[in-house]
Symmetry: C2
């Protein structure tokens, strides 16, 4: 019989991987809660009418669709079939899909539950999403997103607090990061000032690549998109602006003096910096005018976070969107949010060896036994350990000492208590420290103290 | 525009529901870890070859299937289509399905990772499963299972510890339960002794319903299954056995004296009771000879848990299976495990009003502000609160006092700190206790102390 497998692009998580991932999720979750965000969950399946058309044509193709139950083929006419158009037929035989991100389900949730929700609504959501992407290194068909958003508030305090949240999460995870910030309104102002207001999308898509392909190639791309050569020349010094945030803002204020929207973007950034002024952040917050982010729904601040010590894409990103719920009929609700990429954070922690060595959820002591009487003795001792909050195990089989020790080693259990006839007579156990090899006969009370230290 | 909806049988979970559910999951998880069980996760999607044929013909129909990506219709011939056999066609256009339970993916995991796993392998798994069942009250198409199993150990210590786990979980959740235990070998012994050895499946299916339909109806069902009337007469006193566990076992020992397998089952139960002897369990453990559990893969102990104070089906169940991984080619690995039904536990806690009133993850203090200067002041104060581990929020908009207070009320935030010009000048805030209505001007240090109390 062949060994069973799992679908490509999906993963099993072993105990140590799950524990490491939970360390990330729990850290993020605690910080979200520290700032008053509350958790929600939405179903894995959404109606296709909710999902379709929200991620562009490419995105629609990447949706995992659920086949209708029962006699689904009834809905396919002979004519439909004879055309052999998979897309058209799939719309007749499936009406549900797996969620593609957490943003659209969140927008759907807000509209559906608008009368139960307290606005401003501060929510976070940590759940898997599914995409029928071609699997490759670091890209999966099932992966978790950790999203935090507030909707129903225009205040820039939210942007400031999201920066604090990013800073606090990475401080706790011990990852050195730089937090990049920009504003869509500044980008609009730049497009306006260089005389290419209508080409804002092409311009943002191109300059978003500065980091990866450099100025030359960006200019080539702009040319290819029919951006005027003079406009490109005007853009150049803006993209190359250097210096501290205050210097960049001062320079920009002059450049954009005739663009109302541009000045508005500058003022927003300035307010966010002012709000953060008194707080001692660990990370640098850096105004990056080449930061554009592909997604078209952003309308104000945009954020991206890079790890300083590892070559890897952005590990957190987000921004403000003024009309996300509009797609479901609820207009005029502004929101801002960010998403933490758990898989990339995992890779960073792994590469930098930053996972804590001993997890709270690990077993602290194993009772090694060689018979039912010993097990019964151990059960009562283990019970005391657990009542003291210590994770304890009893090796269940009367296996050889070596096997029981190997089990403890493999599970990285720091202490083994050997239960033998002599020990039981004295109402003691032989405690072995697995790191030092040291052995010692101890009472139950002594054992608790030893393990707790 | 119509309000968006979610697929029938699925649910959104609001912040308070998510918080209540997490209380259940966290409680269960901590107890699992206290006993040395480790968490794993498996993908939502499994290959259909892994899932099909594992849940009976009915089960196969209830699998949610994922439509293949791309030009799936290519695989359907004109002849296939002309037959319009949905089941046959679905096998050609889908090769993945959503997991139906956690047991089969676990068996698949053990076989696939057998060389990385330390045996005995003690794992738990808390993840959603999907079934295309007809939705009805209390039955959903997406729901969570909380499974804990150990594989690779025959020891009855595992059964004893699982009973301890059940007891500890419900003690922590403050639900009064009775833990029912039986053994498949005893049931086999009974079938043997009444002369209907071959009809063990029909017999277990029928007597499993004793609780619901009573002895009369069970006997009718047995008759309908062609069980001999004399056999039914012999069965009657066994099913009606009353008294303490010890009395039942003594009576049973006589009844089954000529059945080797029956005596083996009795001895197993006896060992489990002996092991638990010294431990002070909160719940009663009750030998229930009518407990059979439908699933055919159980071979030894079987468990079921009932809540005492609410009319509801079993809230936990499980048992020993001697050859679960055999379906994937790994023979001779015995396992035992139980599954907690989170949805039913939720209903019980809800009905008995047992959810803790204030959750740790709740916001402890809201700063009410009326301008950017106040926000900046509040940011620094909130920062101090958070550094002290207290969840704190700042109302982000310069809304009217009433709106900010209503927000605090709705989110059940116990304290509001009002930040006004006077307060800022004195470097203090006006602290309002939302329960008593009491107000007091306090310093930052005083505030931390007040909130922590």
């Amino acid at each position: 019989m062949q060994k069973p497998t799992i679908p490509k692009g999906t993963r099993d998580f072993t105990p140590s991987e799950t524990s490491a991932r939970n360390y990330i999720f729990d850290t993020i979750k605690h910080v979200f809660q520290l700032f008053g965000y509350q958790q929600i969950e939405t179903p894995a399946m959404e109606n296709l009418s909710t999902l379709m058309g929200k991620y562009g044509e490419e995105g629609d193709k990447l949706l995992f669709r659920i086949l209708n139950s029962g006699d689904f083929i009834e809905n396919v006419s002979d004519e439909d079939f004879s055309q052999r158009n998979s897309l058209k037929i799939s719309n007749k035989i499936s009406e549900k899909g797996l969620r593609y991100d957490l943003t659209v389900p969140f927008a759907r949730f807000v509209v559906q539950h608008q009368n139960e929700i307290v606005f401003p609504f501060k929510r976070f959501q940590i759940q898997p999403v599914w995409r029928a992407d071609r699997p490759q290194r670091g890209r999966y068909r099932e992966f978790y997103q950790c999203d935090v958003d507030v909707v129903g508030s225009n205040s820039l305090l939210n942007e400031a607090e999201l920066i604090q949240i990013i800073d606090e999460v990475y401080k706790r995870l011990k990852i050195n990061v730089v937090i990049k910030i920009n504003n869509r309104k500044i980008l609009s102002g730049i497009a306006e000032i260089i005389g290419e207001k209508d080409k804002i999308v092409d311009i943002t898509v191109a300059i978003d690549k500065m980091d990866k392909i450099g100025l030359e190639k960006v200019n080539e791309e702009l040319l290819a998109k029919n951006i005027d050569i003079q406009a490109i020349e005007k853009l150049k010094p803006i993209l190359l602006l250097k210096g501290a945030n205050a210097e960049k803002l001062a320079a920009l204020r002059k450049i954009l003096q005739n663009s109302e929207i541009g000045l508005c973007g500058i003022s927003e950034i300035q307010t966010i910096f002012d709000l953060l002024d008194n707080l001692k952040l660990t990370a640098n917050v850096e105004l990056d005018l080449t930061l554009a982010r592909g997604l078209n729904y952003y309308t104000g601040a945009i954020f991206e976070v890079k790890a300083r010590d590892v070559e890897i894409g952005s590990i957190t990103g987000g921004g403000r969107y003024d009309n996300l719920t509009g797609i479901f009929g609820l207009e005029g609700v502004s929101g801002v949010g960010i998403s933490f990429g758990a898989d990339r954070i995992y890779d960073v922690l792994n590469q930098l060896n930053l996972f804590p060595q001993f997890a709270d959820n690990q077993t602290k002591i194993l009772f090694a036994c060689f018979g039912v009487q010993e097990q019964k003795f151990a059960l009562s001792w283990a019970d005391s350990m657990r009542k003291a909050g210590l994770n304890a195990e009893i090796f269940p089989d009367a296996a050889k000492m070596k096997k029981q020790m190997t089990y403890a080693d493999n599970k990285q259990i720091p202490f083994v208590a050997i239960v033998g006839e002599n020990e039981m007579q004295q109402n003691k156990v032989m405690l072995k420290n697995m790191q030092t090899g040291e052995q010692q006969l101890v009472t139950k009370e002594e054992l608790v103290v030893k393990i707790m230290m």
